[in-house]
């Protein structure tokens, strides 16, 4: 097991290197750069000024040199400073990450718990009315994009019913209050949760059905164990294995955030930071975000693999 983990960690290094190289190349290929992004008709900048700013930011150097400069900084633990605000990238990400984690975490948790529960219910009442109902609901949930759902929820629950506010994380200005904050969390979390609930539900249902028909389940029933014990100890634990894959694959989005939902609800998370950085061509912030996401993806994959080893005794890593 230790060898396995070490191997994975060593492999991560060239992968991260490759990812950052590719993204840097693509980002540099976008038309315009950070300096050009700031020019407007009302305050046009002289060529001199543009050249000076480019020089300050290192944008007049060849792309390869810029990449090596960024990499060199990184190896010294310095993530660079935003081209737009001059603030350290690590500060910007550190400020915004918790709020994204909160939103995505709540959505993911709700989706996992609700999805698993509904999937189990569906499997246990296979071919019944509930099962068909949930299957249709699942299809609908998977088909609706989260931004469309977001706008729909704002229209229904915010503008029409006035139950929830339309955007933001809390009533701005003044002291923080959890009750106030939770009201703002409901709609964006719901927009994100629906799709994921439907996914978890389908996997839970499939996994459970698979398990229910196994011989050992029949043996357990024959032994006379209580139904609930059979379900939870013997059934659910095995049904969780495919769910672990899906959950593990969803973990990166926990940190990456949802750009669209954060824009609709003006949720000041890392997704919003990223989209603003792309429009502003703010390379250090873009690279910081990409690096973070790449690390999370790899960590999530590793954790998922390890979780298998825990859940399924048949699995072992050499």
């Amino acid at each position: 097991m230790i060898h396995y983990i070490l191997r994975k960690l060593l492999l991560a290094i060239p992968v991260l290197f490759g990812v950052t190289l590719i993204v840097f190349a693509v980002a540099s290929a976008m038309p315009g750069d950070a300096v050009l992004a700031m020019i407007t008709a009302e305050a046009p900048s002289s060529e001199q000024l543009i050249a000076m700013r480019r020089g300050e930011l290192g944008l007049d150097q060849p792309v390869v040199q810029q990449y090596l400069h960024w990499l060199g900084q990184l190896l010294h633990g310095n993530f660079g400073r935003s081209f737009v605000s001059g603030r350290p990238v690590i500060d910007l990400i550190g400020e915004r990450l918790p709020i994204t984690l909160e939103l995505m975490g709540v959505a993911l948790l709700v989706a996992f718990l609700l999805g698993t529960a509904l999937g189990l219910a569906s499997a246990l009442r296979q071919y019944g009315a509930a099962d068909y109902g949930l299957t249709v609901a699942g299809l609908v949930g998977v088909s609706i994009p989260d931004f469309f759902l977001g706008l729909l929820l704002v229209y229904l629950f915010s503008l029409e019913l006035r139950w929830f506010p339309s955007a933001g994380v809390r009533t701005q200005g003044g002291a923080f209050s959890w009750a106030d904050h939770l009201r703002y969390l409901v709609l964006p979390a719901a927009s994100l949760a629906l799709f994921r609930t439907a996914i978890f539900m389908r996997y839970a249902r499939a996994g459970m059905l698979d398990v229910l028909n196994q011989d050992y389940m029949r043996t357990a029933r024959a032994k006379g164990l209580r139904p609930r014990l059979i379900l939870l100890r013997h059934g659910l634990r095995n049904a969780l294995i495919p769910l672990t894959t899906v959950f593990g694959l969803s973990l990166p989005t926990l940190f990456g955030g949802s750009v669209v939902v954060e824009t609709i609800f003006q949720w000041p998370g890392i997704g919003l930071l990223f989209i603003n950085a792309v429009v502003d061509r703010d390379s250090p912030v873009i690279m910081g975000y990409v690096l973070l996401t790449a690390v999370i993806v790899m960590a999530a994959n590793l954790l998922t693999d390890l979780a298998y080893a825990v859940l399924d005794p048949r699995v072992s890593y050499g």
Binding site: M30, P31, G32, D33, A34, L36, A37, M38, I39, T40, A41, E42, A43, P44, E47, Q48, L49, R53, R81, V84, S85, G86, R87, L92, R96, V110, L113, A117, L118, L120, A121, L151, V154, L159, R162, W163, P165, S166, A167, G168, V169, T171, Q172, G173, A179, D180, L182, R183, V186, I264, F265, Q266, P268, L272, L273, I275, N276, V279, D280, R281
Partner: protein
């Protein structure tokens, strides 16, 4: 499932428990602001200047009526030589929000900061008339020779020539910064300095808190020199898109919207008009001439007959009636100010036959499609571009529209690859701002247009402060621009706005504004506003 129903019950309980909206508090004015305007600071950003009305201030502010200026940090000023030298007497007894006294040192520092090439402010050009500006910019000098402080309460500014309207047109863009805080910062570090997210000013409101991409909170300054404000605080709520702003207005989550970056979309106006607490202004003059830009260096567009043909080919009246819902007005020249336009301009009434005729005379060949770029992505703009495309196609001109963001557009300019595009220019402040797009030195936005007569007329317009004399110069320029068509004049656009009636003073002042003034602070008596 028991768990499911318990969970749903919890949600319902939470929402009902917190059901009372916390939006309607006394004494707080909430204003929407667009993203990306705070951290870059006044020196470097082209938006966010509402904070320069409440926290930071200038020597003088433009009046909301557009007529004249209000003395702010300058109590009075005079010019002994018809506009070449200006002597400002500063308001005595003014303190910065941290208690330090405001003196002439702050003014001298601020003007030098704006003009300093190492600071790199795009607003530096507003000070280009000051003596010593060119030397400072080129590095030959390390400060502005024309700015001096004979004593703590007086500032003397020498220009390179008589510019009677300099105060009303250029000085209003400059905010005064605290020398005791920023003076110690190296010029190239001013841009990224923490000062911008924790500003100290002299204005009616004091900076209290800032949360990135969320809000800026400012509270009442009881020692404000024009009298303590009636409002307790202002919260500038930050939004990335227009759509959440419109929803927030409807719900009363914000009281006002920022007009820079877009107004209420046409399709949302009827919905907002149904809200009793909102005052909607669907016809607020944006001071936004909208026109088609052409690269005149491109041989296809060099012949004026081709440009005339394009004007005759587009049915602008029809676009206003359909796509624009009968808002805005037809425009046949550059200036949105009626006083700067001559009568009897060529109207270029819709006439596709005449257009085809002119094209034939000019020997127009329908070759590869013209690259047509535009910036505003709202539905009305997209529809306008589609309409233009179809009208032009009707007479044999083929355009291929592309929606680009600012960085990409500037790259097209930098690569000299610009062909044709739709643009709007916020020049409600004054016709002189038109010099940015039609004078010989205006690069790149003049796109090859150079008429010395027009240049001279723009100079004449700034050589006097007398409205009648200025009007004469601009009217002449308007005739030339109408005839020579360096741009294809389309419309003067409106920017619909909406305000919540609960703030007294807000809608009233905007109703008195003749048009919108972009990217600079405007004095609109915010210290007198209150919650009804």
């Amino acid at each position: 499932m028991r768990f499911t129903s318990r969970f749903l019950g919890l949600i319902a309980a939470l929402s009902l428990a917190a059901a009372s909206p916390a939006f309607a508090e006394g004494g707080t004015f909430r204003s929407a602001m667009r993203t990306g305007c705070i951290e870059m600071g006044t020196l470097h950003t082209t938006c966010g200047h509402r904070l320069d009305e409440t926290v930071l201030q200038s020597l003088v502010h433009l009046m909301w009526t557009g007529q004249g200026v209000k003395p702010m940090l300058a109590e009075s000023w005079s010019t002994p030589d018809s506009g070449q030298t200006w002597v400002f007497k500063l308001r005595p007894g003014v303190k910065w929000h941290d208690g330090a006294p405001f003196t002439a040192k702050d003014v001298v520092f601020s003007l030098n900061a704006y003009a300093n090439p190492k600071v790199g402010s795009p607003w530096a050009s507003k000070l280009s008339s000051i003596k010593g500006y060119n030397e400072f910019q080129s590095g030959a000098a390390d400060h502005l020779a024309g700015v001096s402080a004979p004593d703590d309460g007086t500032v003397r500014i020498e220009l390179d020539g008589p510019k009677p309207a300099w105060v009303e047109l250029q000085l209003i863009f400059i905010s005064i910064l605290p020398e005791h805080i920023l003076g110690a910062v190296a010029p190239q570090d001013i841009r990224g300095n923490r000062f911008w997210i924790n500003r100290v000013g002299t204005g009616p409101f004091i900076w209290k808190a800032y949360a990135s991409d969320q809000y800026v909170e400012v509270t009442r300054n009881p020692d404000y020199f024009l009298g303590a404000p009636k409002l307790d605080r202002i919260v500038y709520q930050i939004y990335k898109d227009i759509s959440p702003i419109v929803s927030a207005l409807e719900l009363g989550e914000v009281d006002a919207m920022s007009y820079e970056g877009g107004g209420v979309p046409l399709s949302e106006i009827p919905r907002l008009q149904k809200v009793p607490s909102l005052q909607v202004m669907p016809n607020m003059n944006g001071g936004l001439p909208t026109y088609i830009q052409l690269n005149l260096a491109d041989p296809r567009f060099a012949d004026v007959r081709v440009r005339q043909a394009m004007m005759y080919a587009i049915d602008r009246r029809s676009i206003i009636e359909t796509v624009k819902g009968n808002t805005g007005e037809l425009s046949n020249t550059l200036f949105p100010q009626a006083w700067a336009r001559a009568d009897g301009l060529e109207p270029y009434e819709y006439n596709p036959d005449k257009a085809r005729d002119l094209l034939k005379q000019a020997g127009w060949q329908t070759g590869k499609p013209i690259d047509f770029i535009y910036y505003y992505s709202d539905q009305m703009n997209v529809d306008t571009v589609v309409a233009i495309q179809s009208y032009l196609a009707d007479v044999g001109i083929d355009i291929k529209p592309r929606l680009l963001d600012p960085a990409s557009i500037n790259q097209v300019y930098a690569d000299n690859a610009f062909e044709m595009g739709l643009f709007a220019n916020g020049m409600g402040l004054d016709p002189s701002l038109g010099a940015l797009v039609v004078t010989c030195n205006a690069k790149p936005l003049a796109f090859g247009y150079c008429n010395k007569e027009v240049d001279a007329l723009f100079e004449r317009g700034l050589a006097t402060a007398d409205r009648a004399e200025r009007a004469a110069a601009y009217k002449q320029a308007s005739v030339i621009l109408n005839r020579e068509l360096p741009k294809l004049w389309l419309f003067n656009e409106v920017r619909p706005l909406a305000f919540n009636k609960r703030i007294s003073g807000l809608a009233e002042h905007f109703a008195q504004q003749p048009l919108l003034f972009f990217n600079l602070p405007v004095y609109n008596e915010v210290e007198t506003w209150d919650v009804r």
